[in-house]
């Protein structure tokens, strides 16, 4: 029986070693600095936002947002731990302190802020539900889809938005509800439905990666819902929230001022006081955030400005090839507006 006992002890120590006790409830920024790494909740795989590549490294605009935080806090993009979260557990992970920030293509809504005790940082991607149709159908707007069959996945707000849109416009339509993404896409491309509806980022990626001939299909200009996707933190930790918020603004500001990861070192010599403040040449900003003065410099140098992360992950240099659209800077007619860093 001695061996049995030995095995029991070995097992018990093994299990005990796996129980990790986190630190006490200090401010998240101090906790993160103490741990020497930031823990971000990401999706289990949403193309362009957070998805592991074939070597297991997370890529995507949400993953890069998280790396920008690490760059700003530690000056090192590798001090990041990605925790894959399902849609159901993402808020619990944040509430229980298992993750420091949720960067997981999450729509900002009233109830999520008010009831779940979250604070959403500035939006890093404006999405919205749209429609894709075959070009041959010769439809210019979703309002012309009278009597059309529409493919949709069940159980999400997508299905409700679809019904609301057609009802409020008094158009009849036939929904074709299919659970699996692969099957709903196949149904659309095989011609079972006239139109396919989901978030426009999803439509664009489906068109590029699944359509037999992408040019035969078109995403209609109508946007029937608002899906502002934003990082979230626990409510009530203002110091931490401010850091998360301003890293995002800094990346927008960098794009507006023409600072990229490639030219950031040249920009250090710039005479523009805005650039000097942002890059820490004129000190003060970092101190206010309780970060190094090089916080924005590091984020831009190591990750890039907002436009660069967009192009690389979802935009023209990616497989998704999304247009900037409303995610363009405010100076170019979009909604992205970096607050002044001063």
């Amino acid at each position: 029986m001695a061996t049995l006992k030995l095995m029991g002890i070995a097992a018990a120590t093994g299990l005990a070693a796996m129980v990790a006790a986190g630190s006490a409830s200090a401010g998240t920024l101090d906790t993160v600095k103490g741990k020497g790494m930031i823990t971000c909740g990401v999706s289990t795989g949403v193309a362009g936002f957070s998805i592991a590549d074939s070597t297991g490294k997370y890529t995507g605009i949400d993953a890069d947002t998280c790396r920008a935080y690490a760059a700003a806090i530690f000056g090192d993009v590798n001090k990041v731990k990605f925790v894959p979260a399902t849609a159901q557990q993402r808020f619990t992970l944040l509430q229980s302190g298992e993750i420091d920030v949720l960067t997981r293509n999450t729509t900002r809504t009233l109830t999520r802020e008010a009831d779940l005790g979250l604070s959403f940082a500035p939006v890093n991607f404006y999405d919205g539900q749209g429609f894709m149709v075959a070009k041959a159908l010769n439809v210019k707007s979703a309002k012309e889809l009278k009597g059309a069959t529409v493919c949709v996945q069940p159980g999400t707000t997508t299905e409700l938005n679809l019904a609301d849109f057609f009802r409020s416009n008094k158009i009849d339509f036939k929904p074709v509800v299919i659970e699996k993404l692969d099957e709903v896409e196949n149904a659309f491309f095989s011609g079972r439905c006239d139109a396919y509806t989901t978030d426009r980022s999803g439509l664009a990626s489906t068109r590029i990666s699944k359509a037999p001939k992408p040019d035969d299909y078109v995403v209609l200009p109508d946007v029937i819902s608002k899906e502002p996707l934003a990082p979230a933190v626990r409510r009530g930790d203002d110091e931490w929230y401010t850091v998360i918020e301003w890293v995002q603004y800094a990346m927008l500001e960098a794009e507006e001022r023409g600072i990229t990861s490639k030219n950031v070192d040249d920009m250090l010599k710039s005479d523009d006081p805005n650039v000097k403040r942002l890059l820490g040449v004129t000190p003060g900003m970092g101190k206010s955030l309780h970060l190094d003065e090089k916080w924005a410099y590091n984020a831009i140098k190591l990750v890039g400005n907002y436009g660069e992360t967009f192009d690389r992950n979802v935009g023209k240099d990616s497989a998704l090839k999304l247009e900037r659209g409303v995610n363009e800077l405010w100076t170019k007619g979009g909604l992205m507006y970096g607050m002044p860093v001063r």
């Binding site: 093994g14 297991g56 298992e98």
Partner: protein, 363 residues
């Protein structure tokens, strides 16, 4: 081949023998003839297209998706690009020899445990040593291996860790529960019955959800219990309840005379169970036990609900890659081959075990 076989006259030549065999076995009644024809029809309709798809029209390697898109058959190039992620997930790419080695150690340990020559007290020590090696390889942090958190233990090693250690701990617990349920002490009996019925009354997904979504809210902020540990414990508790009922079935099949004989010899409860009853009960219960083992092995894929990447979920994650969209069948074929090998081995081994245990009872 229209010659009529004369009863009692052996057919000549291999073709003649085959025809004779087919007549005797496949076309010996009108019902069997219909079944045979239907099966032949099915095989003819199904097999050539599958071979066409899997081998003739398939793409075995390609730099990107475009070649696969043009081909009509399977795109094995997708597996070629993603197999390491599917097998090992996010484990650091350069050190994936570690989980690979762990899988081989697991297989070696399991094969060794299957051989009756190793069934002695040394086996325990071998398992302890094996577990220590597995833990060292997975965690690292020593001997120049980088430290790897359990979050990155993905794919096949995770499936094996969940299944092997899950069932390894669940089985003794199940025996205790089964004995408890048949105990004469009311408190222990009530406790066992309550536990078994409660766990059997809820789906595994619910137990995992409780462990991952509810449990953290009860703990003080900042205190976290490792996700893998939570899943493992939930899995042990769940499997134990099911196995307990299987073991109880075995206990009930042991003739009452055996119990009485053991009592008459003056054996203690422990001796009676250990030496007389349990060996017989577990032998009887081998088929349902293996059934439950196989089911539990496949149930490990439910850990996706708490965001763990087992073998099936790494494949699902790979399928989200926009550069390689839509190769579901190829990925699932790969996964099902791996699952099949393990499950088929378990089922064959249980048959072998039954045969060897029943040698004394067969005439």
């Amino acid at each position: 081949m229209s010659e009529i076989t004369v009863p009692g006259v052996a057919p000549k030549g291999p073709i003649g023998k085959a025809v004779f065999w087919a007549r005797a076995n496949l076309f010996n009644s009108w019902l069997n003839t219909i079944i045979t024809l239907v099966i032949i029809y099915g095989v003819v309709r199904l097999v050539p297209p599958v071979i066409q798809w899997a081998f003739l029209d398939s793409v075995w390697s390609a730099p990107d998706n475009s070649v696969c898109r043009a081909a009509l058959g399977a795109c094995w190039a997708f597996i070629g690009v993603w197999y390491r992620f599917i097998l090992f997930g996010r484990f650091p790419y350069d050190e994936q020899w570690r989980p690979l080695l762990v899988c081989f150690i697991f297989i070696a340990l399991l094969l060794m445990s299957c051989d009756r020559r190793f069934w002695n007290s040394w086996l325990m020590l071998i398992w302890v040593a094996g577990t220590a090696v597995i833990a060292t390889l997975m965690w690292g942090g020593v001997l120049g291996m980088t430290f790897v958190e359990t979050d990155l233990w993905n794919g096949l090693p995770l499936t094996l860790i969940l299944a092997v250690f899950g069932l390894g701990f669940a089985f003794p617990l199940a025996i205790l529960l089964a004995l408890g349920r048949r105990s004469h002490m009311p408190a222990i009996r009530a406790l066992s019955v309550g536990y078994i019925e409660f766990i059997r009354g809820v789906p595994l997904i619910t137990v995992l959800f409780m462990a991952s979504v509810m449990l953290p809210l009860f703990l003080p902020t900042g205190t976290t219990i490792n996700k893998l540990l939570r899943a493992e414990v939930a899995f042990i508790l769940f499997s134990a309840a099911y196995l307990a009922e299987v073991v109880r079935g075995g206990l009930q099949a042991v003739p009452k005379g055996q119990f009485e004989a053991a009592d008459a010899l003056g054996l203690s409860y422990r001796q009676k169970m250990q030496k007389i009853v349990l060996p017989q009960a577990l032998t009887i219960a081998i088929p349902p036990l293996v059934n439950t083992f196989i089911g539990a092995f496949k149930d490990t894929s439910l850990v996706i609900v708490i965001g763990l990447f087992d073998l099936l979920n790494t494949a699902n994650a790979a399928l989200n890659d926009p550069a390689w969209r839509g190769y579901y069948v190829e990925a699932y074929v790969m996964i099902s081959i791996i699952y099949f090998v393990f499950c088929f081995f378990m089922s064959r081994y249980s048959q072998h075990l039954e045969m060897s245990f029943n040698k004394g009872k067969r005439r």
